[in-house]
Symmetry: C2
Subunit: 369 residues, 2 copies
């Protein structure tokens, strides 16, 4: 399989950290990059104009959610996800695999696919690799993902069995795929088991996807285990294809995992934290409901250039939270996403400058103070 329009230019390396550009039909994605999550075709609480103002280059949407509501056929009939949600920049959809395993109460996995019950109304549905691809082709994102099983990380026997199935499903996804304007990424699984992760990376690499993802991490294992797996997997994955670490996205994760060779991140964390009144900052997480901010005229971060910090005080944001005004969620989402997008850009600069190690050490030291 060739990459088609989806070439990846590796522009600089600093140790294992990489800076590049991934080309897609809806625009270029500079890497390292963080992708905000728009689960239901909306990054929660933000207008698309606000996302553009944040200069988000890539956003993610969830196949499981959009299949259930409003339905991928409806999205296709309305011209696809870009037109449906009025977002003309790159979009990535996951395969639905993770949500089937994390959101659905009842599920039955067999060699052919997964039968599950909707978290919305309990109705029964079935995903197969072929259906996941068909749904993702209806949605029409630039990057689509192979249908995989995200297994519990600590059961070796189950991970061995599940990994094999995920590999066979990856081949079925490749065979099912028909659209030339979408890049299909493979997904490495294997829990916390070094030999499984290496075997999975070798197998997925052999299928020559235009990009490769690492799944099944940040699902209960320790940070040390996650880092150990990345150290094993990334050197096996091809250097000339982007590497995407799925569902991971604290500031610390970005800094550490870029250092282990990751290019793309996504996570609901910035918007979820915002709805729980927390602000990300270079010195750690701030609970904006804290009484200490009641009369604090400073912005969340005095060095931040986001709309929220350029406009509003901690005292105002705390007032909105106390008064249960939804604007607090919007303002904190803007700040948190800006924090991750600019952190990715700073890491990219540091890599070009050959100063990744210094930057990372300094950043992580500040974070832990």
């Amino acid at each position: 399989m060739t990459a088609g329009p989806f070439t990846f230019d590796l522009l600089a390396q600093d140790g294992a950290a990489r800076a590049g550009v991934f080309h897609t039909p809806h625009g270029d994605i500079p890497t390292p990059i963080f992708a905000p999550v728009g689960t239901q075709a909306t990054v929660k609480s933000l207008t698309q104009l606000e996302l553009l103002s944040l200069d988000a280059k890539l956003i993610l949407a969830n196949t499981y959610h959009l299949y259930l509501r409003p339905g991928d056929d409806l999205v296709a009939a309305l011209g696809g996800l870009h037109k449906f949600m009025a977002w003309d920049r790159p979009i990535l959809t996951d395969s639905g695999g993770f949500q089937v395993f994390s959101l659905s109460d009842t599920r039955q996995v067999d060699e052919d696919g997964v039968t599950f019950k909707s978290h919305i109304d309990g109705s029964t549905h079935r995903f197969t690799p072929e259906l996941s691809i068909a749904i993702q082709e209806n949605l029409g994102a630039d990057v689509i993902m192979a249908f995989d099983e995200c297994a519990e990380p600590y059961d070796r026997d189950y991970n061995l069995q599940s990994m094999g199935r995920t590999h066979r499903w990856a081949e079925r996804c490749l065979a099912a795929k028909t659209r030339a304007d979408q890049a299909l990424f493979g997904i490495v699984q294997g829990g916390v088991f070094p030999e499984l992760r290496i075997a999975s990376a070798e197998y997925i690499a052999s299928l020559d996807f235009p990009g490769n993802a690492i799944g099944g991490l940040s699902v209960g294992e320790t940070k040390a285990e996650m880092h150990a797996m990345l150290k094993l997997v990334n050197p096996v994955l091809p250097a000339d294809k982007p590497r995407y670490l799925m569902g991971v996205g604290t500031p610390q994760d970005l800094v550490e995992c870029v250092g282990l060779g990751i290019d793309i991140f996504d996570c609901v964390l910035p918007t979820r934290l915002a709805r729980h009144n927390a602000a990300m900052s270079d010195s750690g997480r701030m609970n904006m409901m804290n009484a200490q901010y009641a009369r604090d005229e400073r912005p969340i971060s005095e060095i931040c250039t986001c709309y929220t910090c350029q406009t509003h005080s901690r005292a105002y944001i705390r007032h909105l939270i106390q008064a249960r005004e939804m604007l607090s969620g919007t303002l904190l989402s803007i700040h948190n996403i800006h924090t991750l997008l600019t952190l990715a850009a700073r890491l990219r600069e540091a890599i070009f400058a050959g100063q990744y190690t210094d930057f990372a050490r300094q950043y992580l030291m500040n974070l832990k103070q």
Copy 2:
């Protein structure tokens, strides 16, 4: 009392309808005007940047709410309401009178003031005319309101008694006021009783406020009764001062009440309807949750120039509502506020053109189809 910086230029009249400009320290307000309501120092679900993009000229905030949370002393310590909420255009605060009577479960009115319980925590508080003015001076809005009692509209004896008290309170507010950079407006009461309304308008007019408000309407009486009261009151109020109809703001109300000589409106309706999935339009209200919109690619209104209509389909907005995504509230608030702001501007144009009657007839005919 002189108007100070708060002069009103009456620029055109067409029948009883008027077009003018009210000058304030934070900018000029063209009239007729609709003021979006920011009860708790935020127009619900909108950023101040969105309000600026909508070109809102005047917003309202509620003294009762801000006194209780975060406290007017805190707002004053942080530089006043304009700075606190980062809104550099004109602001109007009400007196707290209406909320004391509508939100507080228990209240005791006496000649000196009102004792009431907070709707937040049940704690006991007391407003007097002097305290209302002191709070409003702490908040620092451009236009502040006399402390009044909003009585049930149909009890004549009570309205007579209450109106007298409201008049005495208006004089106490005038005496208590100290800031030259705020305009204090008087409020006409009198329920649905013609002779009381006329007496109240005469009394309030005699106090020579820089602007006059009409309270106690749209609180349970019929539209016909409201219009009858406005027809009696407006000719008594001075023509060279703006007239503000408190808490009224459907499209129909704007068109009809401008025709009776009203200049300023405020209402929570556009944002409240938005949170209940309803869109205002020139042809009436639309329930955007309706299944008929599921695959409708058109904007809410095909002639609307708001961000929502320029960007999104009815189908997308319905999806957001079905998926319980808060973006639907933001997008509908933008559309509804835009609808009222541009309607006020269209009425102003019609008055300048001497075509108010034709415009109103056509508009109301379309609305009722």
